[in-house]
Amino acid sequence: MYPKDLRYSTEHEWAKVEQRRVRVGVTKFAADKLSDVVFVELPQVGAQVTYMEPFGVIESVKAVSDLYAPVSGRVVEVNTSLSEAPEVVNTDPYGRGWIILVEPKDLKELDKLMTAEQYLKAIGEDPE
């Protein structure tokens, strides 16, 4: 449920290093809590995002929440398919439900994020 190769933020985003870029989405925990996601407001490609500041909005039938950037940098790609099928955030949060791809200013920033083990502890779930 919480892949070991990802890093996790306190606001329930995951970050995955792909070559020199960082793919970002929300965790299974966040997707479950939100319940059915109905809309994701994406930033423009080229926009600057800042570590732990809002870069977009995610809306479910239950709540509207800000999306926080787990890393600072420039947005190089956004998942435009979410406008047609926001439900993939629920069904495949670490795969087709990704949200943005960032060219980070400093990859070391990711060290500030939690490991899968730490994240599981933070959300009160058993690592097993």
């Binding site: 809590k33 059915d36 109905v38 809309f39 809306e59 039938v61 239950k62 709540a63 509207v64 926001p86 439900e87």
Partner: protein
């Protein structure tokens, strides 16, 4: 219920049917081309439904029967203060001198209406501890916008550049939305374990870049902010403004005044606390009260009294301008005025006392069978959690809320405030009898039992309403907002 059971008014249309008949004109008819410029004349007539008066009356009366209102049953919708609207309001609001008054009537011919607004302003200033009150905003969120525009104008006039607004994580969603709309960056401060704003977190977040804090008191958990004095010192100590979301003013009337708690600006939902209609029956009325240092920024016009005469003052150079046509929802000002005058000062205090007593009575009966993350003496409402039920058989708060409808009540507010998981927010208001509250509590206890004995019954609720469980997800993902001819 199918579309056939409930056609839209357009589908009732019969070509040529009319609901009126005009007498023959007693002046010569002239072709429309001689009266209007060509580019302003329609090429085809508008697609209005062609129906008779009786068609219209039946259609909308039938629709109204599908509605649920406070006149029909208990409506414990937390945070919304769905209390009874006394019928005497309709008599005063219908007085011809008020009802037939033209909004363009000159001030000298509208003295009665202006006097009513002036006296209502004085009354609301008195109960809120504010200095002036504007009635322009159409409802609560519009009141927030008006209040925060005045805050922004205040700092602009002082030459201060402040860029942030602080809201608690329990805030109504309109608070951060308002702050963002006015151009501020929103900073969220977490609540502490007792459901208060975390004083230490506020102290950390507060500095000279913060324009204001937007608080609700009692907050959305129905709890009084125990550290309000300290919060006020922290915010004012750094030169910030205190905004009160007055949605829960009902719990405070005659007991304590926001102005005395240090708030600089607040909105009052006349359609909640002061019993003007709302919940589909609106329109609302979002009066905004301010302390005197914000007076120059009030929207225009402002009513002033000179001797025995009232006049409308538009010449206010620092005003944020006009934020709505004319003077707000005037009919509702008449209703709010009527309410305050019929209740009197003692009556207003009794409203708060009884609202708080009622909420605590219901809480006492429900505590133990539902989770209660912030277990304190509540004010006018309280927030339970359906976590126990969800853990037991997977029945969610949403399922239980739908099941409430089968028992003949409006559902409580659910999934708000966001800091409570599976939240169930109940506000009885002071106008409900012990009997009604007992009936509702009995229903909640019965539903709790059903979640164990017959969870499918709850999961598939409602069973007795004309419309069953709606597909909210599809409605949000693929909204169908425009009527089209059905194939």
């Amino acid at each position: 219920m199918s579309a056939k059971d409930f056609p839209v008014i357009v589908e009732l249309s019969t070509p040529g049917r009319v609901g009126f008949s005009f007498p023959e004109p007693d002046v010569p008819e002239r072709p429309i081309e001689r009266l209007l410029p060509v580019d302003q004349i329609r090429e085809a007539p508008p697609g209005l439904p062609e129906v008779s008066e009786l068609d219209v009356v039946r259609h909308y009366t039938r629709l109204s029967h599908r509605n649920f209102s406070i006149d029909e049953g208990f409506y414990p919708l937390g945070s919304c203060t769905m209390k009874y609207n006394p019928k005497i309001h309709e008599e005063t609001a219908a007085l011809p001198g008020f009802r037939r008054l033209h909004p363009y009537a000159p001030a000298e011919e509208a003295q009665g209406a202006l006097q009513l607004m002036w006296e209502l302003e004085r009354a609301l200033a008195e109960v809120s501890g504010m200095d002036r009150v504007t009635f322009q905003p159409a409802a609560g969120a519009h009141g927030e916008l008006t209040g925060m525009l005045m805050v922004r104008a205040y700092f602009a006039a002082r030459g201060e550049k402040r860029t942030k607004v602080i809201v608690p994580d329990s805030a109504h969603g309109t608070n951060p939305a308002t702050a963002a709309m006015v151009g501020y960056q929103v900073i969220t401060v977490k609540s502490d374990s007792r459901g208060n704003m975390d004083v230490r977190a506020l102290r950390q977040a507060m500095d000279e870049s913060v324009a204001a804090i937007m608080l609700t008191n009692p907050n959305t958990l129905g709890l009084f902010e125990e550290s309000i004095v300290e919060l006020e010192e922290i915010v004012h100590g750094r030169g910030g403004q205190m905004y009160l979301d007055g949605a829960n003013f009902n719990a405070m009337l005659g007991m304590t005044r926001p102005g005395d708690q240090g708030f600089d600006v607040m909105h009052m939902n006349l359609h909640k606390t002061f019993t003007t209609p709302h919940g589909g029956g609106g329109p609302g009325a979002g009066a905004v009260g301010i302390r005197s240092h914000l007076t120059p920024f009030l929207p225009v016009p402002v009513i002033e009294k000179e001797g025995d005469l009232f006049r409308l003052d538009d010449a206010r150079p620092q005003s944020i301008g006009k934020i709505r046509a004319f003077y707000g929802n005037f009919g509702n000002l008449v209703r709010a005025y009527t309410y305050i005058r019929t209740m009197g000062a003692d009556g207003l205090r009794q409203i708060a006392e009884t609202a708080v007593l009622n909420a605590n009575y219901m809480l006492a009966r429900l505590r133990g069978r539902f989770d209660l993350p912030y277990d304190r003496v509540c004010k006018h409402e309280f927030v339970l959690a359906g976590t126990r039920q969800k853990k037991r058989t997977g029945v969610t708060t949403r399922d239980m809320a739908k099941r409430v409808l089968d028992y003949g009540f409006h559902a409580p507010t659910i999934y708000f405030p966001l800091i409570v998981e599976e939240a169930i927010m109940i506000e009885p208001t002071e106008t409900e009898s012990k009997r009604t509250m007992d009936e509702f509590v009995d229903a909640m206890l019965a539903i709790d039992r059903e979640t164990q004995d017959n969870p499918d019954l709850v999961r598939s609720a409602p069973h007795t309403t004309p419309v069953k469980r709606l597909d909210e997800v599809r409605a949000a993902r693929q909204p169908d907002l425009r009527w089209k001819t059905r194939p």
